[in-house]
Symmetry: C2
Subunit: 351 residues, 2 copies
């Protein structure tokens, strides 16, 4: 079987966390899946993988089919998937065993097997470099926040130990119930960085998460240690803040608003959306799962408020033909809040 | 409220049927909707419009809100919608009254109010032109098939009468249960043209339907009378057949196949999809609602079989990075059927 490599669109921040420069082995936990099939006497297995790993889907299906009875069929979700907020509920309901790869659980369920696919890349070297190159030394700043993403959670204690051995007092917490682990961040939730420290070390790949972290905590210095691409940087949110201010200003002229309610299981903010349409006669509630430029263009409204995934709004915002704001930014645009109240949009809790 | 006009992407055949050069009045049947709300003591109304009419959604919502009690909320589906095979089941389940505009019912339900939005454009002039310019006269060919799309069904008898007055024996039928009306065609179903006549008059806008009709009935001469754009043409399927042969040939080298099962309510061909994966070890079943190039590119497989909407395969085929075939074309590509068996892919029945 030949799997031709796919081209990733340039500039897609959301995929850079998973874009690896070299092949690596993940643990697909096939035995666990096979055991569940056996236990439930299952006839159908559904697999859902995040975008950057969909190309592994056929291979995983092949490996499973070798281990499973002949009458068990394996099917793969083709729906876009960017997090555990984004379960393919259609496939989940129609398969006896449903496996969600690449994210830690947002909400546990007997029905779902979550396989984290830890990255397993070495973390100590890049943590050491961050220490040498960017972090204030423990003599100056002993308290250091430490966060990472689901992919590196299995090395979290290693990171902590390394920093503690160098003299830091590592501050961590579990943000809220939307997160699975202490020290974990999501694209929409950085509450684990709400610690008593002025600098925070984010260990992980890509720009997706750390920029959001820095925007959510503008008073902290965020150092980004990327063990996958082997880089150490300091988060600079200026460009993004300019982009957001620009969007807010453009939206101030809007005479009509589309208020997007996202139907993905973990991305619904129903009350927030309802509240907006109730208080604005020129606002229309639009329901959808994927929030894309084409879908919004069809409506031809002047501006949009996205009550779904905040990262679509901030990261993909420039691709949309009309300004798209977060709920907080909307309040600024219509004059209910001052411009300097602009902050990052985050999700808390589950469903 | 200002509704800025949206730009339609060039070359999108599926939208040309609804792309009108001038504003026209549709009957949104608001009274019928208001009556249903009253009857069901409804608190929520969901509106689903086809792509080309989504820009009217906010206006319809406004008009409804004026007629409805204040505590009734109106919401609009943002999901792509190309037919009555494509109901927004999420919104349908969560609203007390659900209205589907622009298509005739594929499957009736107490839950759904179908508002056809007949085009109301005059048809006699263009039928007369077709007669003068392209149709063989009744002295040569008395039998004439007559078909149209849902938008013009309210003028169907007018078309028939005009042709009969000119001396034709107009042949019509209702294709099968997937169609609502006698003489109606869908993008995936032209069974209403299975009549005893060598020429068929298709009355309607755009290339979407008549090309499919011609491809499904290569032995008939199909004259296209477009009352919206005021053109009369004869269907020429050569370019499309070349494109399909090209796709089949490119797919013959495939070592891996993605078999797409479309989860839209009226687009599922489960047994067909299952059959393919059961008989091909290099075939993987992938479930999705929207079949788009980006979604397939993620998998990196050599070729794809789309068991969902046939028009995605034939009309959008060139936009995909790997060959995508209909189920029948797949059988040719893997050597189970001869090349000259290539025919148009159609859907029959409902769900």
């Amino acid at each position: 079987m030949s799997n031709r490599s796919s081209d990733r669109p340039a500039g897609d921040l959301r995929k850079t966390g998973m874009a690896l420069k070299h092949d690596r082995e993940w643990d697909y936990e096939l035995d666990r899946i096979v055991a569940a099939v056996d236990e439930r006497d299952a006839k159908t297995v559904g697999l859902q993988l995040p975008e950057g790993l969909k190309r592994r889907g056929p291979g995983v299906a092949d490996d499973l089919r070798e281990l499973l009875p002949d009458d068990v069929s394996v099917m793969i979700s083709g729906q876009p998937c960017y997090g555990a907020c984004d379960l393919d509920t259609y496939l989940m309901k129609r398969t006896d065993v449903f496996v969600h790869f690449g994210h830690s659980p947002m909400k546990e369920s007997e029905k779902i097997i979550y396989v984290p696919l830890f990255s397993n890349v070495e973390v100590r070297p890049i943590v050491e470099r961050a220490l040498e190159e960017e972090l204030a030394p423990p003599e100056e700043e002993a308290d250091l926040g430490l966060v990472t993403t689901a992919q590196h959670m299995n090395r979290f204690e290693e990171m902590r130990e390394h920093l503690e051995a160098r003299g830091y007092t590592v501050q961590t917490r579990r943000g809220d119930e939307r997160l699975t682990h202490e020290g974990q961040v999501l694209g929409c939730n950085y509450a684990s960085a709400d610690v008593d420290a002025e600098q925070v070390l984010y260990v992980g790949g890509g720009k997706f998460h750390p920029l959001g972290l820095a925007m959510e905590h503008p008073e902290k210095r965020v150092v980004i240690a990327d063990p996958v691409n082997n880089t150490v940087t300091v988060a600079d949110t200026e460009r993004f803040m300019k982009q957001r201010y620009g969007a807010v200003h453009r939206a101030m002229d809007a005479d009509s608003w589309g208020v997007i309610f996202c139907t993905k299981i973990g991305q619904g903010r129903w009350e927030r959306a309802q509240e907006i349409v109730e208080r604005n006669d020129d606002a229309y509630l639009i329901t959808m799962d994927e929030v894309t430029p084409d879908r919004l263009r069809n409506f031809g409204l002047d501006a949009y408020v996205n009550t779904g995934c905040p990262r679509i709004t901030t990261d993909d915002g420039p691709q949309f033909h009309a300004p798209m704001l977060t709920p907080g930014e909307y309040e600024i645009a219509i004059g209910e809040k001052p411009l300097d109240s602009l902050e990052f949009d985050t999700f808390h809790g589950t469903w």
